[in-house]
């Protein structure tokens, strides 16, 4: 299976949709985890700062500036790694005590919180700037105390959380994708199997059935149902075939005998008037037989069984034969029959007898309906990789309203009831073209009719 096929397959797309859905829900989940861990760490730090400030304020109230300086120095030295920040300044913002060297430039919000950048003093080689958060508490006499927290640790934890979550998301998505592809592949294989079987059946091998795997899954149920449907179709087609056989045997045989008897009668009869009557009867029997034969033939073609006998054929050669076959008839009616072979030289697989008959029927119609001295053109070109056959005449054409209906059995365009024919010629043509998977269209040739066939 090509990657293209895999990507275009329904199960794989379903898997992709699941991956997308899964990723979105994972992101939501991870965002919540992030918020509840990293977010609460900040909140916790802020609470600690508030607590410390209230502790320091209490000390200042009890012991005055001296006691406060001692406590600040003690805490600053305890802080060690320096994640806690302290700074006590005089009214001129000069350093009195604390482990922070200068008063940060940042502006405090109404609650006294500030956010500022802090240069890393611990690692000389790797100078990094950390985020820090602090609260300022004014003391009497324009003294100020700042208590803060270097967010370096929190930041690194946050970073780790983010990268862990990102990796988690990526791995989840990758696993979902692989899982989807694997699950999809086995489904695609089943579906391809079913499609292949149906293709074979459509090609005429009606006895094929879709294999089951006894897994009892939806595919098995689908296969079972399809097989049941195929059994039913085959039963119906056998029924049609039986009816055809019955018509062939029970109706056509006595009719043929009737005609033969009439022929014997005709030979024995000496009375000219009676001979004429018998001749008419023979003609009627003949027409009936022709109609039966044509009907049976269409039914047989539509059953698709002849597709098994398809072989590669020489389309230009076939058209030449048709033109050559009809040329004398056209000439007799002072019509010109032109064969225009274009640039087509691709391979065509089909039943040459049936295609000959189909094209013969079309040219026959063209010769029949084109006026004396008219033009008939039989053409072959290539159109988008397909063979395009046209049969055009300069006759009266077929009014638009009738164009689709002329393919129906026994349908005749009103005016042509007078011309001989049984209304089955175009039905047979359509059946043959359909058997070959082709298209047939009727167009206006202004004047006349143009039949266009794509194979």
């Amino acid at each position: 299976m090509s990657p293209r096929q895999l990507i275009r397959s329904a199960p794989f797309r379903l898997a992709l949709a699941y991956v997308a859905l899964f990723s979105v829900s994972s992101i939501v989940l991870l965002a919540f985890i992030y918020w509840s861990t990293a977010g609460s760490m900040v909140a916790q730090a802020e609470e600690t700062i508030e607590a410390e400030i209230s502790g320091l304020a209490e000390r200042y109230r009890l012991t005055g500036l001296g006691g406060l300086v001692d406590l600040v120095e003690a805490r600053a030295s305890h802080s060690g790694a320096g994640s806690s920040l302290y700074l006590l300044v005089d009214p001129g913002y000069h350093h009195i005590a604390g482990n922070l060297q200068g008063w940060p430039a940042a502006q405090a919000d109404e609650k006294g919180w500030i956010r500022f950048k802090l240069e890393d003093r611990r690692d000389e080689t790797n100078q990094r700037v950390h985020e820090a958060r602090a609260k300022i508490f004014p003391l009497r006499g324009e003294y100020r105390i700042l208590v803060g927290r270097d967010f370096h640790d929190i930041e690194s934890i946050q970073r780790r959380i983010v990268s862990t979550l990102a990796w988690g998301l990526a791995i989840t998505a990758a696993l979902a994708l692989i899982g989807g592809a694997l699950v999809g592949r086995s489904r695609i294989r089943r579906l391809a199997e079913i499609n292949r079987t149906i293709g074979e059946i459509m090609a005429g091998n009606l006895s094929r059935r879709i294999p089951r795997r006894r897994a009892g899954d939806e595919f098995d149920r689908l296969s079972t149902n399809l097989n049941k449907m195929l059994d039913e179709i085959q039963r119906l087609m056998d029924g049609v075939r039986q009816v055809s056989d019955s018509i062939a045997h029970d109706l056509r045989t006595p009719l043929a005998r009737l005609r033969n008897q009439l022929e014997l009668l005709h030979e024995a009869e000496r009375d000219e008037e009676k001979r004429r009557a018998v001749e008419l009867a023979i003609q009627d029997a003949e027409n009936l037989l022709t109609t039966f034969t044509a009907l049976l033939r269409i039914a047989q073609i539509e059953s698709g069984a002849r597709r098994e006998g398809f072989a590669e054929l020489d389309l230009p050669g076939l058209l030449k034969d048709v033109a050559e076959y009809y040329e004398p008839l056209a000439e007799e009616r002072s019509q010109t029959l032109r064969l225009v072979l274009g640039d087509w030289d691709g391979p065509v697989s089909g039943d040459r007898d049936l295609l000959f008959q189909a094209l013969a029927n079309l040219v026959d119609n063209a010769v029949k309906y084109a006026p004396s001295g008219g033009r008939i053109t039989l053409g072959l070109e290539s159109e988008g990789g397909r063979a395009r056959i046209t049969v055009a005449d300069s006759g009266a054409g077929i009014p638009r309203a009738h164009r689709q209906r002329v393919f129906e059995r026994f349908y005749r365009v009103d005016g042509s009831r007078n011309t001989p024919g049984n209304g089955l010629g175009l039905s047979l043509v359509e059946a043959v073209i359909r058997l070959h998977g082709g298209e047939i269209r009727l167009e206006d040739n202004a004047p006349g009719l143009r039949v266009l066939i794509l194979l």
Partner: protein
Amino acid sequence: MKILIIEDDERARAYLRKGLEESGHVVDSAADGKEGYFLANSQPYDALIVDRMLPGMEGLAIVQALRATGSKTPILILSALGEVDDRVEGLRKGGDDYLVKPFAFSELLARLEALVRRAEVESVETRLQVADLTMDLLSHRVERAGRKIDLQPREFRLLEYLMRHSGQVVTRTMLLEKVWDYHFDPQTNVIDVHVSRLRRKIDKDFGQVLLHTVRGTGYLLREPTPTDP
């Protein structure tokens, strides 16, 4: 000719027997496949008419079995149109010709005679002659009464087939199959136009008519008889 009919339908069998006997042939018949096969093996026949669907032994199986034993007797296979048109299968299994039921008796007779004729004339001919009409198959030269006649390639093949079967009726379907090499039911008699064209070339300016139309059946190319005009 001695002909064996293997056909289970009694009416069809009687009808064939009557027609063939009236045409001056000796007829044996069998209603059962095995019996037919036994008869075909025990006596020499000039031709066999074998139905496809038979009790006892299938028609094509009989043909296959006979060919396997080296029999070269011409065989005409009959089949109902309702079944798949498996002419090719019938011919591949050793049948010489294939006729779909129901058929006009004249069609069957014409085909049967053509088959037997073909079996007789196995030699490679280079020249055909009917009365004063001659055809040289090597130089593709056609003359009548010493006068050269120009023919289109298809007309040449048509005349060749008619000359090879001179004295025999050939039907339109036979011409379509053997000269045009297409198997189908001609809806209109386009072949008549081809034949009348040919007739204009070989018969028109010459006293006696060689190419005759057999009403309701087909055509006949033959030596003139004293009663001809």
